[in-house]
Amino acid sequence: MESNTIISIRGVNFYYGTVRALTDISMKFRKNKVTALIGPSGCGKSTLLRLLNRMNDLIDGTKVEGEILFEDKNIYAPDVDPVEIRRKIGMVFQKPNPFPKTIYNNISYGPNLNGVSSRDMDALVEQSLKQAVLWDEVKDILNKSAMNLSGGQQQRLCIARALAMKPDILLMDEPTSALDPISTAKIEELIEELKDNYTIIIVTHNMQQAARVSDETAFFYLGNLIEYNKTEKIFTKPEVKQTEDYITGRFG
């Protein structure tokens, strides 16, 4: 089992100023699986997700204790460059946030920074858009602004943009909460297809979504990891009373 672990969190505490948002979290994420992080608002699930690619570094006055190991190295070690981490661990946000650039340039933005030559770029753009199941819809309008796409298309573009970096892990922060049901279904299908090649960690408010797309589920409450197990187990036979109360809708 150990060889299947891609990220391992050890005794992590996290503070916004003096407020502790995460308390002594230890957990392992398995490779090529979809892991869902669930829990009521303010439970720390998005905070944990943003710790994994050091996005919380961008917020002033935050503090991390403990270790997060990725490829056997603590990503919070002083000699680690967060830019390198973010190139290997991609992220999709709650609200679709394409750049106000063309569809093509949205995809090529990241690879360009990585020094991918313009000779290889066309193929990479096509491949990324195909992976995100958006190619057929946009192949004739690659030079149009991404802002003209629908919300669901924009979100798939954001996924394609993240995939173009060929990341090891894809972090998704409530990727469908701003989308209509049809777009949501498309994104969920996409997650299903992507998990053969990527490790996906998804934060979601929608418990049916967690049950549908994930292999493992972690339930958070007030900054604590309450229960972490196979998704099937969490949703059928939770071991902790709080988990059961939450998934049956008694609170949250």
């Binding site: 961008l58 973010r86 991609g90 946000f93 679709p96 750049f99 919300g151 954001c158 993240a162």
Partner: protein, 295 residues
């Protein structure tokens, strides 16, 4: 009095106050054109705009303002070339890079610079910049294009900087996050995402900065040198349009052709600043970012 009547009266009182500036502007434009237009009964528009000689007190006088326009445009252009990089860079530093404390200090210093009376800046140009230019480059006078441009640039920097900073600040956080999450550095994010997204606001800032520079009177009156001739080098003196009006208006008899010509220069200036403002307005509307993703 019923409540509705009161509401209506209050509404019209506020409308009246709002209309005051519109009415004042209308009156000013009206008097400008009333005093200036009669000139064209004796001088053709072409001779006025493209005439090479400004000898208003000769007999017969000559009212060609082309050298004055060239003077205005050249000092404005060079001032813009100096002020745009400085203003935009400082806005980027303040908005994206500076720590909170330094940001606050810089912002108040720039506001202070904006509040300096132009006569103080002109004085600085006369007694500090001019002698230095004269000695360093061995010139007959330090009151010239370069001097006026530098001082005008100092005046335009606060305008350009603060409007650009607003534009940069308005770039949605989501764009920055998206860029960082793709492994971009701060510098790459600024150059490739933030500045392009703020470009319409920055262009507006530049146009308004230029409008500020072209209408400025005191500085060009004091340090541009006052020679009504087409300059041959950046060290030559020029006589920009506002300087001409300010210098000559006191000695012109009311209703004379010279008097009318100065008003006509005012009309040209008015049209130029209006054009700058319209262009700025057009840019900011046409290229307005839709902000975050539309759903």
């Amino acid at each position: 009095m019923s409540r509705q009547t009161k509401e209506i009266i209050i509404k019209y009182i506020f409308l009246l106050f709002a209309l005051v500036s519109v009415i004042v502007l209308g009156l000013i434009v009206f008097s400008l054109f009333r005093e200036g237009l009669p000139l064209f009964k004796t001088v053709s528009v072409k001779d006025f705009l493209f005439g090479m000689e400004w000898y208003p007190t000769y007999d017969p006088p000559s009212f060609g303002i082309f050298p004055l326009m060239v003077g205005s445009l050249i000092v404005t252009l060079i001032a813009t070339l100096i002020a745009v990089p400085l203003g935009v860079m400082s806005a980027i530093y303040i908005s994206e890079i500076a720590p909170q404390r330094i940001k606050e200090i810089l912002k108040s210093v720039i506001e202070l610079l904006a509040g300096l009376p132009s006569v103080v800046l002109g004085f600085f140009g006369m007694v500090i910049v001019a002698p230095w230019l004269q000695e360093t480059f061995d010139l007959p006078t330090g009151l010239n294009i370069i001097n006026a441009s530098v001082i005008l640039a100092i005046m335009a920097i606060p305008t350009i900087s603060s409007i650009s900073e607003d534009a940069l600040y308005a770039v949605p956080r989501e764009f920055k996050e998206a860029s960082y999450a793709l492994g971009a550095t701060k510098f790459e994010t600024i150059v490739q995402v933030i500045v392009p997204a703020a470009l319409s606001g920055i262009s507006t800032a530049v146009m308004l900065g230029m409008a500020r520079a072209i209408g400025e009177t005191m500085v060009v009156l004091m340090v541009a040198g006052g020679a009504a001739a087409i300059p041959e080098s950046l060290f030559d003196s020029v006589r920009p349009m506002p300087a001409s009006i300010a210098a000559e208006m006191g000695e012109t008899p009311y209703g004379s052709a010279h008097y009318q010509a100065l008003f006509a220069i005012g009309m040209v200036l008015f049209c130029l600043t209006l054009a700058f403002n319209l262009i700025a307005d057009y840019i900011s509307h046409k290229f307005r970012q839709t902000g975050s993703a539309t759903l």
